[in-house]
């Protein structure tokens, strides 16, 4: 006789079934440990990147060429701080502690995007950071608005709403330089030469060397692979560089009619791994600036705590 009863689904299978049905996972829902760990790592790395990402641009706030550019840059940098905060709070819903995440960043244990370990040498770099780096960030972030973990997806919706101004102001800086004197245009070209390849590295290692991608796609944390996003980026940016009259520094770059996409050269992966390992041009500087800001703010945090405790005691609410 045949039994009609199916074996009950394990917790893990039920979880996967919800993911497959595109049901969002919320903080108190059951989730596999590895899913939680992967998310904490990814979200906190993302938060760290927003935070450290303020430094290369902060470098130019006092030297922006006009009050308008200065106000814009200041707003953009403030947005990046906000993005960091949205993301840290999303990671906290998974049980991560804010202090621990910051401690891991400051000790060098946690990673952040390698792009921010490159220096911003001229004003044109502000253009390239907005246009290319924020452009790449948008490609990474838009699919994350549909990522399977609810608080992460909601944080990304807020982030994405703010990013498009970042990219446009960067493009405008580039356009202004390219329409200016020959020396300004040259400055723009030099900045593109510096930033093009590091930006391509932002999408992470090649798919064949990204062992976590498959699981992340299965959990719908990631929706596209690194190589897919890199290709999209190149296809999107080349016409924009052409519009600006700039040359993309890649002799292998060529339109492939068959694929309806650009073929492009190989990223210098040796350089990528060196920067990830901490040996980039600015790794030490960035970390030092972060730690210094944190330590110099310690008295403010303590004073605010003391003030709050005193007030609570006075109101008779305190224990």
């Amino acid at each position: 006789m045949e039994t009609l009863e199916k074996p009950a689904l394990t917790q893990e299978e039920q979880f996967q079934a919800r993911i497959d049905a595109d049901v969002r996972i919320e903080p108190k829902d059951w989730m596999p440990d590895a899913y939680r760990k992967t998310l904490i790592r990814q979200i906190s790395q993302h938060a760290h990147s927003e935070l450290v990402g303020m430094l290369p641009e902060g470098n130019w706030i006092t030297r922006a060429p006009s009050l308008k550019r200065k106000s814009i840059l200041l707003s953009k940098v403030q947005d990046e701080a906000g993005h960091g905060l949205y993301l840290y709070s999303a990671a906290e819903t998974l049980g991560a502690s804010r202090d621990q995440m910051l401690a891991d960043l400051h000790s060098g244990k946690a990673k952040y995007s390698s792009i921010f370990n490159y220096p911003t040498l001229s004003w044109a770099d502000m253009g390239c950071v907005g246009w290319l780096v924020d452009g790449a960030a948008i490609l990474n972030q838009v699919p994350l608005c549909r990522t399977s973990y609810g608080p992460y997806a909601r944080a990304m919706v807020r982030v994405c709403k703010e990013e498009s101004f970042h990219q446009r102001q960067g493009f405008e800086v580039m356009q202004t330089l390219c329409e200016g004197a020959p020396a300004q245009k040259e400055m723009a070209q030099e900045a593109l030469n510096r930033w093009w390849w590091p930006t391509l590295m932002m999408f992470g290692p090649k798919d064949s060397e990204s062992p976590n991608t498959e699981q992340s796609m299965k959990w719908r944390i990631k929706r596209f692979t690194n190589d897919e996003l890199r290709q999209k980026f190149v296809d999107m940016m080349v016409p924009q560089a052409e519009f600006l009259g700039l040359t993309v520094p890649d002799p292998a770059l060529k339109w492939n009619e068959e694929r309806k996409a650009y073929d492009f050269g190989e990223v210098n992966w040796e350089e990528f791994w060196q920067v990830v390992k901490g040996n980039g041009l600015c790794n030490a500087d960035r970390l030092q600036a972060r730690v210094q800001a944190h330590e110099e703010g310690a008295w403010v945090r303590e004073a605010a705590n003391a003030h709050a405790a005193k007030r609570k005691a006075r109101e008779g609410v305190g224990a």
Binding site: G82, A103, A308
Partner: protein, 95 residues
């Protein structure tokens, strides 16, 4: 060094007069005044709100997702609570 972490607050924002406050996220602050100021800077840089509520996260009590099915189940079989359950003759207007 870590015991100084400011408490966590949940932030709710009314985007315009006439609408409910809606949960937007959380942040750390030493007290309610600072939580409201921080919420202004973190969550309303583009006029996203006209009013802010903050509640210390430890004060939020939530239903248990593991019981969600049984907990919300009683409403599942009461289709007659919806107007579409009733057939209204075509000639009857304004109902």
């Amino acid at each position: 060094m870590n015991q100084s972490e400011w408490p966590l607050w949940e932030v709710f924002i009314r985007s315009k007069q006439g609408l409910d406050h809606k949960h937007v996220g959380s942040l750390h602050a030493a007290d309610a005044t600072m939580a409201i100021q921080n919420a202004r800077d973190v969550y309303t840089r583009r006029l996203e709100g006209v009013s802010i509520w903050v509640v210390e996260s430890t004060h939020i009590h939530a239903s248990n997702p593991d019981d969600a099915e049984a907990f919300f189940d009683p409403a599942a079989d009461k289709v007659y609570r919806h107007p579409t359950f009733y057939d209204v003759p075509d000639s009857i207007k304004h109902m």
